[in-house]
């Protein structure tokens, strides 16, 4: 009986490992190839060596990457844009969800339905009208000590951030999570004389760490990965995010080693970030009300 159980567990572990191998092999291949010269990448392809850092290993590809692309600047831009989008996104979306979930606001059902309806509009179909539209928006510029108005958001940081702050999926996740927090807590706080914002800030949000972590990751990924949008609205090299950099490698003479090196360079920070937050993220989404 015990042996049978052991066997079963070993079998399960084997399946787990199998899945892990499938999930990881292209990424391992990418990382390993980034250390090899092109000739060897192709040469190793037919053997296990494709996944092993063997042979002529060096960081040459990475050096070449920095020669070709202002990679540090792009990384910095992406970190900045993603971080600001995440932080403002958490604030704006949780605030909205709070009112929709815990307050008796008239017409909130219609608002909530309208918000959720935005999820079925794919971004690609909006992109063109949106480019024209953001270029009509007013723009404030701090010029010395005077605030100046001008028109058009193209070629700025904010055009990469502000359209993506409000997100229906984030609002939905917060909403579902807030529903699971007992309303009695609000009542108690109100009796103590707390205003709504204070309840949001001091009662509800402190209990919503898991939902916050989930929204943070789910906002971060698309922000970090954005590609079509910056391509269309950012012209200055100093404002470009990391994904645009990939295009730099498909000029004449494609070097796959460099492509792999750059791909690794822009993927690894996300993986590290995820590992750092892994526990709270997985636990959080587990309890963040996606169970409905």
């Amino acid at each position: 009986m015990k042996n049978q159980l052991l066997l079963k567990n070993a079998g399960t572990m084997l399946v787990r490992i199998l899945f892990a191998v499938v999930a990881a092999f292209p990424i391992v291949f990418m990382l390993v190839s980034s250390l090899k010269p092109d000739q060897q990448i192709f040469g190793d392809m037919s053997s296990l060596a494709a996944f092993l850092p063997v042979g002529n290993i060096s960081f040459d590809n990475y050096t070449a990457v920095f020669d070709r692309v202002p990679a540090a600047r792009f990384l910095l831009n992406s970190v900045g844009v993603s971080a600001v989008t995440v932080i403002l996104g958490i604030f704006v979306n949780s605030l909205c969800a709070f009112a929709l979930s815990r307050m008796q606001v008239r017409g909130k059902k219609i608002v909530f339905t309208a918000i959720l309806a935005t999820l079925i509009v794919p971004f690609q179909t909006l992109a063109l009208p949106l480019v024209w539209w953001v270029n009509q928006l007013p723009y404030f510029e701090l010029n010395g000590f005077s605030l100046e108005f001008s028109k058009g958001w193209l070629d700025t940081y904010q055009v990469q951030i502000i359209p993506f702050i409000a997100n229906a999926f984030s609002i939905y996740l917060f909403h579902q999570y807030f529903e699971s927090i007992p309303k009695e807590l609000d009542e108690a706080a109100r009796i103590d004389g707390a205003g709504w914002f204070k309840i949001y800030r001091q009662v509800v949000m402190p209990l919503s760490g898991p939902a916050t972590a989930t929204v943070a990751i789910l906002t971060f990924l698309p922000a970090w990965n954005s590609y079509l949008w910056p391509l269309m609205v950012v012209q200055s090299e100093e404002l470009r995010p990391v994904m645009i950099g990939i295009q730099y490698f498909f000029q004449l003479n494609v070097s796959w080693g460099e492509v792999m090196a750059y791909a690794s360079l822009i993927t690894v920070p996300v993986v590290v970030l995820f590992i750092a937050f892994q526990r709270s993220f997985v636990n959080s989404i587990a309890s963040s009300g996606v169970k409905g």
Partner: protein
């Protein structure tokens, strides 16, 4: 927990402040809207191509140093997405003064009203005709260089197979080409002796393959008025071309989808004949030395043909300081400048004077042959605003035919789409 939240809130406020600051100093310097007094922005397609970018930068630096009125500022984009970036900016009304445009797109831009006709001090009459883009009888863009298509092979391979190298005096005919491929294939060295770069996408498809169609006697569109593709793109000649092209793959002479980098594959001896451009010339010669033969494309009936026109410069109509922009362009067209860029790119210099300054392109130079190809064989892609549309339709047709679609009906469909597009644009008349 409460403290933690206060911290988060504090961070968000700090972040919001940061955004404001970023916004304050974060307006990019690329667009025309920030062209302050005396600054002119210039967009170019060669981010990720350090040599060409450096050559252009050098011209700009020397121009900036030569006078005090204006400063030119370069903004480089990666080539693959350059057109998307520029078209988006154009649609939003946010173009710089000077733009780099792929030659065949110039009529479309000029028609749409985004370009000013050039008024240059420089004499364009001595330029290679394919480096000056005209629309409606006026020049709208001018390039420093052109590129030429060619076939490259190893002399030793041809000899081993018993095949005569093609020359400009006597290019291969269709039959000779067939014979050469059979013999090379029979050597057994290569799975596919021919590499036509069939993995290419985008502009490569019309650039690379419409000359083959033209050599058969077909064309992308009827050039008389550019009102229809009927007969040109789906006539007997065109169908003949399609079936021949498809046949190259069916007979195992070439892959339906070649490797990503045809030149590299050729140098790695994965193919015997590569159909590529003058840009690969230096690299191939460095690797193969005297064994390299550069041959004109096959004469498929109407003589060898290659595509004309590469990247060119134009001045946008919204430019507030067009005079200065024109002045810069005139300055940049000095022979030494043209020579510097051509050298950096390995491309064919636009003028004879510039060519004289580059040994490889001077009379008797190793790359001189590309210049001759350009003069003798270049056919401009149709100079009509419909070109971007025609190019995508043709590109798709090429890929479908290669993958086994019926030649006649595929071409018929392309013609139908092209004609409908021309009609819905009122014939693209001014």
């Amino acid at each position: 927990m409460n403290k933690k939240f206060t911290k988060i809130l504090a961070t968000s406020i700090a972040a919001a402040a940061l955004t404001a600051t970023l916004a304050g100093c974060g307006k990019g310097s690329a667009s025309s809207s920030t062209e302050g007094s005396g600054e002119i922005a210039l967009w170019t397609h060669n981010a990720g191509n350090p040599e060409e970018l450096a050559a252009v930068q050098k011209i700009v630096d020397s121009y900036n140093g030569s006078q005090d009125n204006v400063k030119i500022r370069i903004q480089a984009f990666p080539q693959d997405s350059y057109n998307d970036s520029v078209v988006s900016a154009a649609a939003a009304g946010n173009l710089p003064c000077i733009v780099d445009i792929d030659g065949p797109n110039v009529p479309n831009w000029a028609w749409a009203g985004y370009l000013k006709p050039l008024e240059l001090d420089a004499d364009l009459s001595k330029h290679l005709p394919s480096t000056v883009a005209e629309w409606d009888g006026k020049p709208y863009a001018v390039g420093y260089y052109d590129v030429a298509l060619a076939m490259m092979a190893r002399a030793s391979d041809l000899k081993a197979a018993g095949v005569r190298p093609a020359t400009m005096e006597k290019p291969w005919t269709k039959e000779e080409f067939q014979d050469a491929l059979s013999k090379l294939k029979a050597l057994g060295t290569w799975e596919h002796p021919l590499d036509l770069g069939t993995a290419g996408t985008g502009e490569w498809l019309p650039y690379g393959y419409s000359p083959l169609l033209q050599s058969f006697g077909g064309d992308l569109v009827n050039r008389d008025g550019f009102q229809s593709a009927e007969g040109a793109l789906n006539g007997d000649k065109a169908v003949e071309w399609a079936e021949w092209f498809r046949g190259l793959a069916d007979q195992g002479f070439m892959a339906k989808k070649s490797g990503k980098d045809s030149t590299q594959d050729f140098l790695n001896n994965k193919s015997a004949i590569v159909y590529t451009g003058s840009w690969a010339g230096d690299k191939a010669r460095a690797a193969l030395g005297d064994d390299l033969v550069v041959m004109p494309p096959v004469d498929l009936g109407e003589g060898p043909k290659i595509g004309g026109a590469s990247w060119q410069w134009g001045v946008t109509s919204g430019c507030s300081n067009a005079e200065a922009a024109m002045d810069y362009l005139s300055y940049s067209l000095k022979p030494e400048n043209i020579a510097a860029v051509a050298k950096a790119t390995g491309a064919i210099p636009a003028s004879e004077e510039a060519a004289a300054q580059i040994p490889a392109f001077a009379q008797g130079g190793a790359n001189r042959i590309f210049m001759d190809f350009s003069r003798e064989y270049a056919v401009m892609r149709p100079e009509t605003p419909a070109y971007p549309f025609i190019a995508t339709e043709y590109g798709k047709a090429v890929q479908d035919i290669l993958n086994g679609a019926d030649a006649k009906s595929t071409l018929d469909n392309a013609v139908k789409a092209i004609d409908a597009n021309i009609k819905s644009n009122g014939g693209y008349k001014n």
